[in-house]
Amino acid sequence: MSIRSKSLKPAEQRRVSDLRLGESGTICCLKDPEMALKLLEMGCIPGTQVRLNSRAPLGCPITLVLGDDDYTLSLRVSEAATIFLKD
C-alpha cells in the first residue's frame, strides 16, 4: 500500500493507460511520486478498482470511473501511464 520505486517492478506491467474501453483493473501502485500526491487525493488509492470510461476524440485525455463511487475522473494519457495495475 505504498509507492514503490521503479526498479522493483518489471517494465511490462500493465498500466491504466493500457486499459481498453470499458475494461477494469485494480490499482497496484503509482510510479511518479509527485503525480501520486495529486492522484491519491483524487481517490486513486492502491487497491481501488478503475474502469476506462471514455477517450477524448483525439485519444487523449481519458476518463476513468473510480471504485464503486460512480465518480468520474479525467486525466491525460501520460498521467494515466504512471498508474500501474495489479496482475
Binding site: M1, S2, I3, L30, P33, E34, M35, A36, L37, K38, L39, L40, E41, M42, G43, I45, P46, N53, S54, A56, P57, L58, G59, C60, P61, T63, G67, D68, D69, D70, Y71, T72, L73, S74, L75, R76, E79
Partner: protein
C-alpha cells in the same frame, strides 16, 4: 464587515448592499460582534451555491494579500441577532496546496494569531462522493479548527442509492453534520442555526503523525508556539510556501527537516493513504449502498453524443456560433441604448452649461465612462453563457475535447473559451481565463488573447479595406473585400497561436501542468448562481478596469484640448481667417477650427514627435495622432481621423472614406496607397492599443509586468510587420 445595529433584508438589492458596504467602510472593524466563518470544500461540492444561499447579493470581492486570487466575502444574517462574515475559500481537494489559489487556504488557516483567522470552518461535502470529500474534512479537523460538515447533494446521493446514517456520521466525526441540498436551499436554515452556536473544538482525531517524526514536530511546535502536532507537521511540509514566516523561521525549519532527514513526498502520500483507510472504516459504519439495477448514467449517454468525434465538435461549433450571435448581435441593442443614453446626457449638459470644466466632464469623463458602460452588455452576455456552460458541466467536456490540440501550442483545453471570446472583446475574454488553474497556461492565454481581432477593430478594418481593396468578385462569388477581412482575422489568430508556442518555449517555469480533474455529471444550471456571476463580473469590470479607462480618457482629452502657450488661440484665429477667406459655412468653419486646434494641441505635438518613428511605416503625423488616441479604444481611430481631416463629428463612414481618398501626400498623389493602407491595417491587427485590455490584464495578473510586456511585444510586432509590408509594397 458591518458593526451591530444594522439589519439587512435578505432580499436586499445590489444597490442597497453597495450602500451598506459604503457604511461599513466607515465603521471601525469590530471582530467581536461578527463571527468569522470560512467556507471550505472540494470543487463541485456545491460550495458556491451554499455561499450564495448564505449571503445572497451581499458579497464583496477583494484580493488576498500578494496573490492573484479573489477573496470573496459576504455577510450572512444567521439569526435576527447574529450576523457572521463568511469568507469563501477556493475549492480544494486537500490541505496540501497544488496551485497558487489553494495556497490562500493554508496561509489563512495556519496562522492562528492572524486577524483574519476564522472562528470556525464550514466544510461542504458532496454526499454522493463522500469518500473523497471527507479527506479534506479530516485534515481540517486535525488542524484543530472547530468545524461543521455541510453534507450537500443529499438528493443526488439518494438517486445513486447511497444512504447515509447522519446521526452515526456525526458521532464518528465528532462535529455537527447538516444534510442539505444547497442548490434548492434545503437545510440552509438548519445550518444557519448551528453556525450561530459557539462550536467546540473537534474531539475526534483522524490521523496521528508517525512516532519517529515526533521529535522534529515537537521542536517546531514549541518554537512557533503552535496548538497541535498536526499543524507543526504542516509547517515541516510547507514552510517554503508559508507567506507569514520570516527567512529565519524558514531556515530554522529547513535545518530541522535536514537534521531528521524528513522526506515530505512519501510522508504526504502515506498520510493520504492512511486517511483513506480511516475514512473507509467510518463509511463502513455510516453508509449503506443499495445498488438497484445499474442503469447507465444519463451523463454517459449524453457524453456519447456531446464528446463524439464528429457530433461533439459540431455541437461545440454550434454553441460557439450562438455565443458569437449573443455577443455580437444581441448585445448591440443594449449597447446602442447605452451609447444613446450617454450621448443624450452629454448633450443635455453641453446645451445647458459651458466652460472648460464642463468640457472636461463631457468630453473627458463622460466619454470615458461611456467607453466603460458600453461593454457591459457584452460582458454580461458572455459571462451568462460561460456560467451556464460551467454550471451544466459542458465546459469540462469542451476542455476535454480540445486539450490535446491546445497543448501543442503551450495552451490548455481551458484556453479555448478566452481565445474565442477574444473575437468579441479581449476584456471579458481575459477575465474568463480565470478558470485555468495552471499559472503558465493562464499567463500564455492572457498574453495572446488580445491578438485575436476584436469587434473594436471592425470599423478600422472596414474603412481601410473599402479604401484600397476593390469591391469585386473573384472566382464568381468570393467578394475580395470579404476575403481581405477574413485574412486579417486569420492573421490575428495565427499570431496568437504562434506567440503562444513561442512563450511556451520561453517561459521555463517548473510548474507541472495537470489535467487530473473531476469530470462532473451534467446538471441543470442554477439560475441564481448564473445571475450572481453576471453581477459580480460586471461590478468587477466597472469598478476595477473602469477606474483606469476613465483616468486615461481624461488624460487624452487634456492632451487633445490644450497646447503649449497660446498655440491653440493662434490656431483658432488662423482657422477663422482662412474660413472667412474661403467663405465657409459655419459648420465647415467649426470643423476647420477643430482640426487646426488638434494639430496644435499636445496630442498634435506628440503626433509630430512620433512622425520620424512611424515614417518608415508610411504614416505621417496625422495618422500618428490617430494611433495615440486609438489607445482609448481602437474604434476612436475613425473619429480622430475624421476630426483631423476636418470632417464633421456626425459624418458617416462614406465621407470619412472620401476624405481619406482625397488626402494628398507631398507630391500631390493620393496619400493612402495600398501600401500605406495595408501597413496601417496590419498595425491594427497586432498593436496593443487598448487601455481597457491593459487595465484588465493588470488586474488579472496583479501587476504591471505582464501588461507592459504585452504592450511592448504587440506594438513591436505591429511595427515590424507594418515596416515589412510598407517597404515591400511601396
Amino acid at each position: 464587515m458591518v458593526g451591530g445595529g444594522i439589519t439587512i433584508d435578505r432580499a436586499a438589492s445590489a444597490a442597497s448592499a453597495a450602500a451598506l458596504e459604503a457604511v461599513a467602510a466607515n465603521l471601525p472593524r469590530d471582530h467581536k460582534g461578527l463571527t468569522r466563518i470560512a467556507l471550505v470544500g472540494n470543487p463541485n461540492s456545491g460550495k458556491s451555491s451554499l455561499f450564495n444561499q448564505l449571503t445572497g447579493l451581499n458579497q464583496k470581492v477583494g484580493n488576498f494579500p500578494g496573490v492573484t486570487v479573489d477573496r470573496k466575502t459576504g455577510v450572512s444574517q444567521l439569526t435576527p441577532q447574529h450576523r457572521a462574515e463568511i469568507i469563501d475559500l477556493p475549492g480544494t481537494y486537500s490541505l496540501y496546496p497544488k496551485s497558487l489559489d489553494e495556497k490562500v487556504i493554508t496561509d489563512l488557516l495556519y496562522d492562528k494569531t492572524s486577524e483574519q483567522y476564522p472562528d470556525f470552518v464550514v466544510v461542504t461535502a458532496d454526499a454522493s462522493n463522500l469518500r473523497r470529500n471527507l479527506l479534506l474534512f479530516t485534515q481540517l479537523a486535525d488542524l484543530g479548527l472547530p468545524a461543521v460538515l455541510a453534507l450537500n447533494m443529499m438528493d443526488v446521493a439518494e438517486q445513486h442509492g447511497v444512504h447515509i446514517d447522519v446521526a452515526q456520521l456525526q458521532q464518528e466525526l465528532g462535529v455537527p453534520v447538516i444534510p442539505m441540498n444547497a442548490r434548492k436551499g434545503i437545510g440552509v436554515a438548519a445550518l444557519k442555526i448551528v453556525m450561530a452556536q459557539t462550536l467546540n473544538l473537534p474531539t475526534v482525531s483522524f490521523y496521528q503523525p508517525s512516532e519517529e517524526l515526533l521529535p522534529m514536530i515537537r521542536q517546531i511546535r514549541y518554537y512557533f508556539n503552535l496548538h497541535n502536532d498536526y499543524l507543526a507537521l504542516h509547517y515541516a511540509h510547507q514552510f517554503r510556501h508559508i507567506s507569514f514566516l520570516s527567512a529565519d523561521d524558514k531556515a530554522y525549519i529547513q535545518e530541522l527537516t535536514e537534521q531528521y532527514d524528513f522526506q515530505p513526498t512519501p510522508r504526504q502520500a502515506q498520510e493520504t493513504i492512511d486517511r483513506y483507510a480511516r475514512i473507509n472504516d467510518i463509511l463502513l459504519n455510516t453508509v449503506s449502498v443499495t445498488r438497484t439495477e445499474r442503469n447507465e448514467p444519463y451523463s454517459n449517454r449524453l457524453d456519447r453524443v456531446l464528446t463524439h468525434k464528429v457530433w461533439g465538435y459540431l455541437i461545440f461549433f454550434g454553441v460557439l456560433f450562438m455565443l458569437f450571435q449573443a455577443v455580437f448581435a444581441w448585445a448591440s441593442y443594449p449597447m446602442e441604448l447605452i451609447d444613446q443614453g450617454v450621448t443624450w446626457i452629454n448633450q443635455l449638459i453641453q446645451t445647458n452649461f459651458h466652460g472648460p470644466l464642463i468640457n472636461l466632464l463631457t468630453e473627458g469623463v463622460l466619454a470615458g465612462l461611456g467607453g466603460v458602460l458600453i461593454f457591459i452588455p457584452q460582458i454580461a452576455l458572455l459571462f451568462a453563457f460561460i456560467a451556464v456552460l460551467e454550471e451544466t458541466g459542458y465546459m469540462a467536456r469542451v476542455t476535454f475535447m480540445m486539450d490535446r490540440i491546445m497543448r501543442k501550442f503551450g495552451l490548455n483545453g481551458k484556453s479555448v473559451v478566452p481565445l474565442i471570446s477574444g473575437v468579441a472583446c479581449a476584456v471579458p475574454a481575459i477575465m474568463s481565463a480565470r478558470t485555468i488553474e495552471n499559472w503558465k497556461d493562464r499567463i500564455i492565454t492572457i498574453f495572446v488573447t488580445p491578438l485575436m481581432s476584436c469587434s473594436a477593430r471592425i470599423p478600422v478594418y472596414t474603412v481601410l479595406i473599402a479604401l484600397v481593396v476593390p469591391d469585386q468578385k473573384v472566382l464568381g462569388f468570393f467578394n475580395l473585400q470579404g476575403i481581405a477581412l477574413m485574412g486579417l482575422y486569420l492573421l490575428g489568430f495565427f499570431a496568437a497561436i504562434l506567440s503562444a508556442l513561442a512563450l511556451k518555449i520561453l517561459l521555463r517555469r517548473k510548474e507541472r501542468s495537470y489535467f487530473i480533474m473531476e469530470f462532473p455529471v451534467y446538471r441543470w444550471p442554477r439560475w441564481k448562481n448564473v445571475g450572481i456571476t453576471i453581477v459580480e463580473k460586471v461590478k468587477t469590470f466597472v469598478f476595477q478596469a473602469g477606474k483606469v479607462i476613465v483616468a486615461i480618457s481624461v488624460i487624452l482629452w487634456v492632451l487633445a484640448s490644450y497646447g503649449p502657450g497660446n498655440a491653440l488661440e493662434q490656431a483658432e484665429t488662423k482657422a477663422r481667417a482662412v474660413a472667412a477667406e474661403q467663405h465657409l459655412t459655419p459648420a465647415e468653419t467649426d470643423n476647420r477650427i477643430a482640426s487646426e486646434k488638434l494639430e496644435n494641441s499636445y496630442a498634435g505635438l506628440f503626433g509630430r514627435t512620433l512622425e520620424p518613428a512611424i515614417r518608415p511605416l508610411g504614416f505621417d503625423w496625422k495618422v500618428g495622432i490617430a494611433l495615440i488616441t486609438s489607445f482609448a479604444a481602437r474604434e476612436v481611430f475613425v473619429g480622430t481621423i475624421s476630426t483631423i481631416y476636418s470632417v464633421g463629428q456626425d459624418a458617416d463612414m462614406r465621407t470619412v472614406q472620401q476624405k481619406l481618398a482625397a488626402e494628398k501626400d507631398d507630391q500631390g498623389q493620393p496619400f493612402f496607397t495600398p501600401a500605406r493602407a495595408f501597413s496601417l491595417l496590419v498595425f491594427y491587427v497586432f498593436a496593443m492599443q487598448c487601455m481597457s485590455t491593459l487595465a484588465v490584464v493588470y488586474r488579472e495578473t496583479k501587476g504591471w509586468k505582464w501588461p507592459m510586456l504585452q504592450l511592448l511585444y504587440m506594438t513591436g510586432l505591429a511595427y515590424v510587420a507594418s515596416l515589412t509590408i510598407y517597404q515591400l509594397m511601396k
